[in-house]
Symmetry: C2
Subunit: 199 residues, 2 copies
Amino acid sequence: MTKRIITISRQFGSGGRSIGKALAQRLGWKYYDKELVEEVALESGFDAGYVEEHGESAPAASAFAYAFTQPGVPGVMRGMSATDFLWCIQREVVLKLADKEPCVIVGRNADYILRDRDDVLNAFIYADKAYRADRIVRLYGESEKSPEQRLNTKDKKRAVNYKHYTGQDWGDARNYHIALNSGLLGEEACVKILESLVK
Amino acid sequence: MTKRIITISRQFGSGGRSIGKALAQRLGWKYYDKELVEEVALESGFDAGYVEEHGESAPAASAFAYAFTQPGVPGVMRGMSATDFLWCIQREVVLKLADKEPCVIVGRNADYILRDRDDVLNAFIYADKAYRADRIVRLYGESEKSPEQRLNTKDKKRAVNYKHYTGQDWGDARNYHIALNSGLLGEEACVKILESLVK
């Protein structure tokens, strides 16, 4: 079965986003990451910043932020937590985009959401901590927390969110066709491998 | 750094051996699997069948089979368990073969043994249980134990052996450059990807 959708799950700092972007460009496919956030924001009425922050984060932290206590939210989400509502919208947006045209989707549990299609290739990008720590400081600058703390926090949030909404373990190789160590292989090699798999 | 050695670690039944063999043939490189067993048998004085059976199996099962209680074993291994002695010989053989010429080495914890070289590419081949169960019955026939039991036993033995001698977790993606789901990708795609990485 020819693949026309590539989902990229990635450890924080592994370069999965750059790889996805370069890959989409190389293939002439649509690329969804921030673009997906904007679409979800539009559909949900949430602020894009909120979607970006909570779309892949652990539900526990905001489980008490029940949407029905907030003014101005759509009636359809009454009684749903804000993150559950966000998950529903995100799921719909991913399904809709996947139907439209060939694309690369980064994050958002898209591998799970699209699991019933057989034209989807699921990739996981990872790298060791030293490589990722170095990379996030280079890209995003220093912060109060150590790079290791930032990696742990972000990865843990993604893992908890994934487990909560999919019942699967995030990063478990069985969920993916291929897992690439970007630190050892380099980003360019990762792009080339994924490109070769859909060509 | 150009890679001139590929190590293949593999789940039982995933086709890692066939992939390694085809890959070596394609590259014109030496292929070590059974061949390595024979070399180890020669150097250790053990029977090839014994090496094949215990070279990647859990040490616990044979930890009491201390070699010094067996007649005719070399003096150098007195006081060592047979599996520890086997590990030492296997390690030496892998290091020696890696020095000689470009090669593909299947199993035998070669990824760990060669960890200080930077001309080594480490791959892990895996697949879901249904694919592997089907494959081992097709290749090796039925047996008293169910295919699932056979997979579990063999994988567990490899994991325990790996942990014992390397201190690392077998199948942990961080030990590898790349992990390939042979069930989803197909063997031919796996061969091609690995070939492209060293060309």
